[in-house]
């Protein structure tokens, strides 16, 4: 196997980094399971099957949204740390500290919603947190504190990653392969980074941007809540909360796309080296990922027209590098490859399907006239659930499976392939119901669904149960192999 395809360095030097990465991935995925149960509760309530009070529905909804975004991203960044660690020296200390801070942020959010009763939605769209007739200002502040800690943890992770990559390649521009890029592939004097390393640099930059946007957003909110300023402009607030949160959510799919570059070659037995299209596409994603958040503001007519159009252009544009380079590239890698099929490769395949299908739904909704009749319906929920369930999460599960396979001597259980396909079926059905619901103009974020809407949610519940069964099996399979995988990262002498 080529050096770049190894997970551990020969001297085991990145063992502790791998352990930290495993902690990120396991913590993230366990949290996803818990948040998923909350999601199931939401659909069950909307189906009229087990009705909870609107107060609790909106609290659960708030926790589910923020928790899922944070958890999937956590698993994803853990994966990318593992993926680059064999060729880039990372600091386990920085990773552990960032993890503690990030998880404390999650803790704050759980406390704010479940104990404090905050139900302002994950978007904490100003001025709603201040107008909580069912929650106190204190719980809104706890929510902001949670976001601040998560942003801080993410910032620490991304800054550390970027510095490590720059050090490892002799400068940031070399980590981004700029000389190679701007010479159209002719100048190869610099050692080229592995695709996953370049991707790591890209997402680190955008992660820093997202975390910074979060700080910019939260500081005036804190100031307003403590009456240091009288009010915050609603349009400014919406732009920044989405620049923060939407980018964080969006980041997950790009981080996990990096994992595809890192691990898919092991199954297709074909290398996926750095090429000019890869360098070009991923460098383009740095600005493009930050542009498209404003497709959530089309209905805010007060938004300047330039930003509205930039949102549409940005949304269309960002699809091109991802599709042409990453997705076609992955398909080409698989095509007639004699690929080794297992739950990891199945999850990679499912993720590719979902990324494109969800992307189609997103592109349609990013078209302003279409958005008029789909904004804030379940169509929106459909597109991002597809990106997560059958995109980022599928890729993250695939990568964790890959890591466990590489480290643990124990083989996968026999039902894992079937469980992975079941996940695909469950996921596809689940998101299709959302798309159909959106096509029928069913609004999103309604605690109570009209009788004519409930049958759709009932069908969705059935598919969620399939997802749950699949994930239960996969979790059990991976869980029983986790200890041996963990041990394999330690040096033979027993030192850690």
């Amino acid at each position: 196997m080529p050096a770049s395809a190894r997970l551990m360095t020969p001297d085991g030097g990145n063992g502790e980094v791998l352990r930290a990465s495993l902690a990120y991935m396991v913590a993230g995925l366990l949290s996803v399971l818990l948040m998923g149960l909350l999601g199931l509760l939401m659909r069950v309530d909307q189906a009229g099957m087990l009705v909870i009070s609107p107060v609790w529905f909106y609290r659960v909804m708030t926790l589910h949204g923020s928790g899922m975004i944070a958890s999937v991203l956590l698993a994803a960044i853990g994966g990318i740390a593992a993926a680059v660690s064999s060729t880039t020296r990372l600091s386990a200390r920085a990773l552990w500290i960032a993890l503690v801070i990030y998880l404390m942020g999650n803790g704050f959010v759980v406390l704010a919603t479940l104990v404090g009763g905050f139900a302002g939605g994950w978007t904490v769209l100003y001025p709603l947190p201040e107008h909580g007739l069912i929650w106190s200002l204190g719980s809104a502040l706890a929510m902001y504190a949670g976001y601040l800690f998560v942003a801080l943890g993410l910032l620490l992770f991304c800054v550390h990653l970027l510095i490590a990559l720059a050090r490892s390649h002799g400068g940031l521009t070399k980590a981004l392969a700029w000389r190679y890029l701007f010479s159209f592939g002719r100048d190869t004097r610099d050692a080229l980074p592995r695709p996953v390393e370049l991707i790591a640099a890209v997402i680190a930059i955008d992660g820093i941007a997202a975390a910074t946007a979060g700080a910019i957003y939260l500081v005036p909110l804190f100031a307003q809540a403590t009456h240091l300023v009288t009010s915050v402009d609603a349009l400014f607030a919406k732009n920044f909360v989405l620049l923060f949160g939407h980018t964080m959510g969006n980041l997950s799919i790009y981080v996990t796309a990096g994992l595809v570059y890192a691990a898919l070659p092991a199954y297709t037995k074909r290398a996926w080296p750095m090429t000019w299209p890869v360098a070009a596409a991923w460098n383009l994603i740095i600005p493009l990922m930050l542009l498209n958040y404003s497709h959530h503001l089309y209905a805010d007519f007060a938004q300047p027209l330039t930003l509205q159009l930039l949102g549409e252009i940005g949304s269309y544009a960002v699809a091109l590098p991802s599709f042409i380079v990453t997705i076609i590239g992955a398909l080409a890698l698989m095509y007639r490859s004699g690929m080794r099929w297992g739950s990891a490769s199945i999850f990679f395949a499912l993720g590719l399907w979902g990324w494109v299908f969800g992307g189609m739904g997103a592109l349609l909704d990013s078209t302003i006239p279409v958005n008029q009749v789909m904004h804030n319906t379940l169509w929106v929920a459909a597109h991002f659930h597809t990106y997560f369930v059958l995109g980022a999460l599928a890729f993250a599960l695939a990568y964790l499976t890959y890591v466990v396979e590489m480290l643990s001597p124990l083989a996968a259980r026999r039902g894992s392939d079937a469980a992975a396909w079941l996940y695909g079926v469950g996921g596809a059905g689940f998101v299709l119901v959302f798309f159909i619901s959106g096509a029928n103009s069913i609004p999103r974020r309604f605690a109570v669904h009209l009788p004519q809407w409930q049958p759709y949610a009932r069908i969705a519940v059935a598919f969620v149960v399939l997802i749950a069964l699949s994930l239960a099996w996969i979790s059990w399979d991976l869980g029983t192999r986790m200890r041996s995988a963990w041990r394999a990262t330690q040096l033979p002498s027993g030192e850690s």
């Binding site: 909106y58 091109l320 007639r336 099929w341």
Partner: protein, 176 residues
Amino acid sequence: MSPHVVFVTLIVLGAVWTACWAFVLVRSRYPLPFEQLERSETTIRLVLLGGLAIVSIVLFAVTIRWLPFPNTRIARVGAPQIVVRAVGMQWSWEISRRELPAGIPIAFAVGSRDVNHDFAIYDPGGRLLAQVQAMPGYTNHLVYVFPRAGEYTVRCLEYCGLGHHTMSVRIIVSDR
């Protein structure tokens, strides 16, 4: 723009994609050295890049004409003859006029007394027709022409707290 048309578009495109995806998966069982595929891969990439870029540009150009913002709408349907003030608040709508005629441009001046809401017009069959956000500190104008008579429902489509799902109001549209 009908949501159902959008959905059918998604399904058609999705089916094409799924077929290609399934094809790749199935064919993975018949190995071929990668070098033999590289040229066709590059060709496919360039063709798709060109095609998608053209489609995107055309789509973008077309959509400009159909923007829902007041200026573009007025240019298409004519100046509004009736102005209706709508103010959202937790958790109800205050509308200055609930009986409106079909077939002529109406401007809804939408504002909010407290938090963000969304003024969304649903037709009698439950289909979403048009919407605009109600933002505190701003008045947004939605210009709309009701296609036919009937009982339309305005729902709040921006999460605004405990009573978000209860915020709706009826508009009776009659023929002139």
